[in-house]
């Protein structure tokens, strides 16, 4: 039991590293091998994660809509999503005649690559991080906006009017909401004094930012959740898809595996956004600590750091799913009004308040 509680992913990683170092002498080759292993296991992890998120979304939706949800394939319907994936794999990947074939086939790949790249600096557990890049926050906000290129590409190359409208909506939407997301990120950067996600987590050792940062950080947390829901095109901001208006928007013409890749990237994005929110505002893998109460902090440390990280992330994922199944969709002009007239001014003022707070040291 003790081993289980103190077990961390980092010791497993070190064990694998030592094993490989014994086998492979050439340091270059060792490095490449480790990178390939990491990449493959990351993709496998993300696909399984997306299966789980797909299942979770259906169960949450069913719970909200007083119905059962998937309950036939596998125990409690958990294999339904696997069956659906097999179906999508076996379907014909149709490319419309008048589409720009190269861009049409490239778009889903770009979407998936863009969303997978954001995973790199996220700390999943204590000392377990793919790459603690020192400009982590900047990297996240830069790479996460790659997705819009995929959406625009898909919309333009489909040669379908609905797709084009969806893509244009999405372009306007992501460019606008990027600002609020960026400003919310900056507020935490200002407080912690570092762009590295690892450092940001460590800076929350005696209290998470959402507690230490008082009301201004809570405001930027709320703005971050709203704006990032818009950035990943989920309801009530799913104007790029808007089934009832644009019959699916940018992915109207996609079928089979190419369509599944859009879904995959949507769920990875959902996970990434929630993970970033958990890392910045709720302390990432850091257990719930209260500065000064050492006894209490020790008890909290007994819960493994990966459990802390994933439970925070899934809490935010659940909230975003909750949005989707309760709210109607905004209209395109109201979407932009919300950003430019409300969220952006509020977050600008908020950043100034947080900066003053950081200078005066009120957050300590």
């Amino acid at each position: 039991m003790k081993i289980l509680l103190t077990y961390s992913f980092s010791s497993f990683a070190t064990y694998v590293h030592n094993l490989l170092a014994d086998l492979i002498i050439n340091p270059m080759l060792l490095h490449v091998t480790e990178m390939v292993i990491t990449g493959v296991s990351l993709i496998a992890f993300l696909v399984i994660l997306c299966f789980f998120l797909g299942y979770m979304e259906r169960r949450v939706a069913a719970f909200m809509e007083i119905r059962l949800g998937p309950n036939r394939v596998g125990p409690k319907g958990s294999l339904q999503i696997v069956a659906d994936t097999v179906k999508l794999l076996l379907k014909e990947g149709l490319t419309p005649d008048s589409a720009d074939k190269f861009l049409f086939n490239l778009a889903p790949v770009i979407m998936v690559i863009g969303s997978m790249m954001v995973i790199a600096p996220i700390a999943f557990a204590k000392d377990f991080q793919l790459y603690d890049i020192n400009i982590g926050v900047l990297y996240v906000s830069a790479v996460s906006s790659l997705g819009v290129i995929g959406i625009l590409m898909a919309g333009w190359s489909s040669n379908n009017k609905y797709s084009l409208l969806g893509a244009m909506r999405s372009g306007a939407q992501i460019v606008s909401y990027e600002l609020s997301v960026g400003l919310s990120l900056i507020s935490i950067v200002v407080l912690s004094g570092s762009l590295s996600l690892g450092d940001i987590v460590r800076s929350q050792e005696n209290g998470w930012w959402i507690i230490k940062g008082h009301i201004p950080v809570m405001i930027s947390f709320v703005i971050f959740v709203i704006a990032s829901t818009a950035e990943i095109n989920r309801a009530p901001f799913d104007l790029a898809e808007a089934d009832q208006e644009l019959t699916g928007g940018f992915h109207t013409e996609y079928a089979g595996m190419k369509f599944a890749m859009f879904l995959l990237s949507e769920y990875i994005n959902l996970f990434v956004v929630s993970a970033i929110a958990a890392t910045l505002f709720l302390g990432g893998w850091m257990p719930f600590h209260i500065g000064g109460l050492d006894g209490f902090n020790h008890i909290m440390d007994f819960i493994p750091s990966s459990i802390w990280f994933f439970s925070k992330t899934f809490l935010i994922i659940f909230i975003i799913m909750w949005f989707r199944w309760t709210f109607p969709r905004l209209r395109v002009d109201q979407l932009l009004t919300l950003e430019w007239k409300y969220l952006l001014p509020i977050s600008m003022v908020n950043v100034i308040i947080i900066t003053v707070m950081a200078i005066m040291g009120w957050h300590l």
Partner: protein, 374 residues
């Protein structure tokens, strides 16, 4: 025709024409809207009809006065009882037949149950059209109980054929009164839940308030009826103006609103559901004993002449016009369907709005496409 073809051209730089339908999720059927867009703004809308035209009016000319009623269940399939009732009332008018009180009461209760389930379905679909999926399931939960009552008494869930000239086809099921009262008490408790999830929502209010304005004058000149017209302040409830069946026995309000926008239309229907519940409550315990059907001849022949009857369906005024030459089947039949006239005001309402507004307007007019095309 020439004018129509010229309209099809894109005349300005940057103009964009999309075809909403005949296969589109929010046209609720096979309606085809040709939409001229400037970016997201709707410049012009042109409805193209006829995708589900089944020539019910022409077909009826070769059917007997008992049989032509059954085709009308397929017109406005959400208000089959009320369509049937309109036809039965017209034939009774021609025969100058007195319908037993029991039949009148049963007809009114069934018509109001129909209105209730139609409005419930509309409420769910409005949520769906605006992007909220959950209301759909809430609405269908209550609608299912009404459908079960229909199934028990009329033998069908959707396209009932229960109203016949002279009364109703069979007597009500022994459980009818008990189950109806159960359903009513259940639905009354749920109205608050409906308001919680949709009515007070900020996004919903933004999507509907001030959207798709229809003025009182326009509503009258386009022949708009039903909740759509009452939301513009036009008093047009046939149940009040020319009471038929047992509507003169009950107390109820005609809901009027001067908003003229999607929100007003929404609120009108929400209020009407409560009125329907109250009408049924007044009648359900007082169904008189006696015959449920007046005696008619085996072959009904209307006297030579023209007969017209108006009823209030969930969507507006349905008129049935029969020209008889004295034979066993009508010489000519014309239905004045509410959906057709209401749709004609859509281009006016949608002009200048966004694509999202067009969808909101379409759902608050509550279009049923087979009713438009017949």
């Amino acid at each position: 025709m020439r004018g129509l073809i010229e309209d099809d051209y894109v005349t300005e730089e940057g103009e964009f024409v999309i075809n909403m339908g005949p296969q589109h999720p929010s046209t609720h059927g096979v309606l085809h809207l040709k939409v001229w867009l400037d970016g997201e703004t709707v410049k012009k809308v042109q409805p193209h009809l006829g995708y589900i035209h089944r020539s019910i009016e022409k077909m009826s000319e070769s059917l007997s006065y008992r049989n032509f009623i059954f085709a009308t269940s397929r017109m406005d399939y959400l208000a089959a009882h009320i369509n049937n009732e309109a036809c039965a009332l017209t034939v009774e008018k021609g025969l100058q037949l007195e319908v037993p009180d029991r039949a009148k009461y049963i007809r009114t209760i069934l018509a109001e149950l129909t209105r209730l389930q139609s409005h419930l379905l509309w409420w769910g679909c409005t949520g769906l059209d605006l992007g909220a999926v959950t209301p759909f399931f809430y609405a269908f939960r209550e609608r299912e109980f009404i459908m079960e009552i229909m199934e028990e008494t009329c033998g069908a869930r959707l396209t009932q054929n229960f109203m016949v000239p002279g009364g109703v086809m069979y007597d009500i099921h022994p459980n009818f009164q008990k189950r109806t009262k159960e359903v009513l008490s259940q639905i009354k408790g749920k109205f608050q839940e409906y308001d919680n999830i949709m009515t007070g929502n900020v996004i919903f209010e933004n999507r509907t308030k001030g959207v798709g304005f229809l003025s009182k004058e326009d509503a009258i000149s386009y022949g708009v009826t039903g909740p759509t017209a009452r939301a513009s302040g036009v008093s047009c409830d046939i149940r009040k103006l020319i009471p038929y069946s047992a509507y003169n026995q009950v107390q109820f309000d005609e809901i009027l609103d001067n908003g003229g926008d999607c929100y007003a239309r929404y609120m009108i229907r929400m209020q009407e559901m409560k009125q329907s519940v109250s009408i049924i409550e007044q009648l359900i315990d007082n169904i008189p004993e006696g015959e449920f059907q007046a005696k008619t001849k085996n072959v009904i022949k209307l006297p030579k002449g023209e007969f017209y009857q108006r009823v209030e369906t969930p969507r507006g005024e349905l008129g049935v016009f029969i020209v008889s030459d004295g034979a066993a089947s009508p010489y000519r039949i014309k239905y004045r369907s509410p959906g057709f006239s209401n749709l004609s005001a859509l281009p006016l309402m949608a002009k200048g709005g966004k694509i999202g507004d067009l969808v909101a307007i379409m759902s608050t007019i509550d279009l049923v496409i087979p009713d438009i095309d017949r």
